[in-house]
Symmetry: C2
Subunit: 455 residues, 2 copies
């Protein structure tokens, strides 16, 4: 008789796990059931700001594989709009509720994959109210679009929080013609890079007409006729027609905790290198709901990102399928487009490096994306953080106007391999005038770091 | 009394060495004399095709630092149009001839840097004749430009050789409005990548109107009134008004060999890891005239490329300056723009891997530069060559329409560090919809290689 795999959560991690398991084990060997509380499976949450802005035209463009595709081509029984409300590990059952028609089912499993994703941080003041949105799911995206299209047309927007989503949403709303204010509690938006690099981003955002209010704390919202009317802050009230929350997310572990799955200090489910829940041989977890190892600091971190979710899901699926795979952790690589700026980072920021106990030097090198004489060469700033005295690369950040963001990849692979900045000066990177100066910006920064370590 | 450093060759390697030595040792400690037979120092030879095409407007844009700058700002006595004709290692003297005014000088040195670059391969049939050009020096570039501008205006061009320079020159001449034929002895132009990848390039070149004749050997040229009139091949005669030679270069070692410097099997001067000539403590060499270690094959190779010349020159200068630096070899990374294609490679091609004795698998993965739904996503082909059974990456090639070439850098750093394709599937590369699909093309190829190794 076939064994039965139940997957809780039908997005990147869950469906990657299910698909990989299916590739290795046919339906006679493994029955696969996936529960998803939303309407969709396997969509690109990262693409939502671009759909809202109109850069991406159709919602369905963001959907990688529909539930029907999973059912028909992969023989995976996907049940959307069905929320798992309980996990009984002793009886090996989950309880699931049909959100549209009501009613509960209990389903038995041999193997369980917990892939519930993350939930947006929602402060006390953010009551459910017309015009207040998170941007987490495709359903959220649809709600924002409907609000922007409906009469009376919103003219002003406040984005609360200056992380990736906040920054991307601020830009999206400007593209939709709204007058946008970004409120950030810290000293800079784009706090995913160091303040000196983030200030380059803030300047570009202001150039786009976005008003940035830093060091400001939101304490409430005001409504009029059931619609948001203003955001109340400790620096006054900001009238607005729409509020977007970009305050980050936390792992969705309510079910896991209730069932006794171990939850770490970051709030994410703990897993071993194979993405198995420690002490529970038939329970696996992956994606935005788990914590993972930061390979530089050696600490547990929660990094919700589609690329990790996909990789972790694949690892789970290979293991369930009878293969062997591990997820070796992350180094914090991320890239973002902000207006006409490209931003990349990997490893630790200064603050993170200090709090992890490292001693280090930092350098910042200015260069260009192409040979200076080649048309289209644009300025680029590369910042490196290198351990003192070893010279080991701890972190890197890039801000540039074009051909900048993905240059972080070479630095990420160097960091992944524990290279020193001295080693890096010799790296054989691609050179031709349309693509790089004869010393690539990455190499110029490495040289500067070598000098800084020697002084 | 100050010691005296003589540098033979005032381009990338020589002047990088001189500048680095000067940074570390003042003029009271070290006198620096640099001889250059051409008119210019430190220019971008790689930029010449773009100057000829008109993409780069001014010749001086290609000049990084003029002789005057070196003299005034770096106290380096640069003597242009002065050709070193002999090296006397016993007496520690060089003999140099003033090419403009005539006359010879003998100059004493304590330390010597040999950085004479490379000379273009010139077949017997390529007599000096109006309209026949190499593209090696800035003076060559000026000659081509003058020829294209002068009456009678050339309408047809034949480029002989389909390496980087040949391909770039074919495109440059098309941009100048000429009707261009590229003649290549091998089966494909762009032989720096495997034939399957090169065929993508050939298709793009044909799309630009370039006629490509492969498997054709040139046996002579015909002239009329002192001007080239046709290229004679074993497949007939090709009438033309200009001929550009893109047949590669060989190390310029005539002087070195005469003086007793060791020359390796590749034809390049042999050096140790610090770029010192073995057995000659005060003689150093760098740039296109030396051979270097290929870190993958373990063999000596000759890879003339500005980025290596600069790095090697820097290493020499640090060592002469009293510091410590090594050049650890190359892995064959290169990027090229061909029409609207971007081409990148690193490591070994299939043919090279086989002749180095490796067993391997190859995979080719099709993907896109950005998330498929994001505007501007373009197709990209990534090919990987992985050792069997270890999975160690041996080589990689990329051909794409945009944001493709520099993706080779992540692969180059992975290869540099001896990563396996299995390790690579977990790499934390930058992901955001404007920059990559959730599985970067590089990771998709790595996954495919893992599968190929398992089957």
């Amino acid at each position: 008789m076939a064994q039965r795999l139940i997957v809780i959560g039908g997005d990147a991690a869950g469906m990657a796990a299910a698909s990989q398991a299916r590739r290795r084990r046919g339906r006679d060997d493994l029955e696969i059931l996936a529960f998803e509380r939303g309407h969709f499976t396997s969509y690109s949450a990262c693409g939502i700001p671009y759909w809202i802005s109109g850069t991406v035209e159709e919602r369905d463009d963001l959907i990688v594989r529909s539930p029907a595709t999973f059912r028909e081509e992969h023989q995976i029984d996907v049940r959307t709009r069905t929320e798992v409300t309980g996990i009984d590990l002793d009886r090996r059952e989950v309880v699931a509720r049909d959100l549209d028609r009501g009613g509960e089912v209990r389903e038995r499993f041999d193997t369980l994959v917990y892939a519930t994703g993350a939930v947006p941080t929602k402060p006390d003041w953010a009551r459910d109210m017309g015009g207040v949105f998170g941007v987490q799911t495709l359903d959220d995206g649809a709600a924002v679009r409907d609000w922007l299209d409906a009469e009376p047309k919103p003219r002003r927007a406040v984005v609360v929080g200056g992380g990736y989503i906040g920054v991307e949403m601020a830009e999206a709303l400007v593209q939709r013609g709204l007058s946008v204010t970004l409120v950030e509690q810290g000293e800079q938006p784009m706090s995913t890079v160091d303040p000196d690099m983030a200030s380059l981003v803030a300047t570009a955002m202001r150039g786009l007409g976005i008003e940035i209010r830093t060091g400001v704390r939101v304490s409430g919202i005001e409504e009029r006729d059931g619609r948001v009317a203003a955001v109340v802050t400790d620096a006054g009230s900001l009238p607005t027609d729409v509020v977007v929350l970009g305050l980050g997310v936390r792992p969705n572990t309510a079910l896991a905790a209730a069932a006794g799955l171990p939850v770490g200090t970051t709030g994410g489910v703990r897993v071993d290198r194979r993405m198995r829940v420690p002490g529970m041989p038939d329970v696996w977890a992956a994606g935005d709901c788990v914590e993972t190892l930061h390979r530089v600091s050696g600490m547990a971190v929660h990094v919700p990102l589609g690329t990790h979710a996909n990789k972790q899901g694949r690892v789970v699926g290979i293991n369930i399928g009878g293969g062997y795979a591990t997820f070796p952790g992350v180094i914090g690589t991320a890239v973002t487009k902000v207006c006409d700026l490209e931003v990349g980072r990997t490893g630790l920021r200064e603050r993170e490096a200090a709090s992890a106990g490292f001693e280090f030097v930092t350098v910042r090198a200015e260069s260009t994306s192409r040979a200076g004489y080649y048309p289209g060469a644009r300025p680029m700033t590369v910042k490196l953080i290198a351990e003192r005295p070893t010279g080991r690369l701890l972190g890197a950040q890039i801000v540039g106007r074009s051909e900048a963001a993905k240059r972080i990849d070479a630095l990420a692979v160097a960091l992944w391999n524990g290279m020193t900045v001295d080693d890096m000066t010799a790296l054989d990177l691609g050179y031709a005038p349309p693509y790089a100066p004869v010393w690539d910006p990455v190499l110029i920064a490495a040289r500067k770091a070598v000098d800084a370590l020697a002084s």
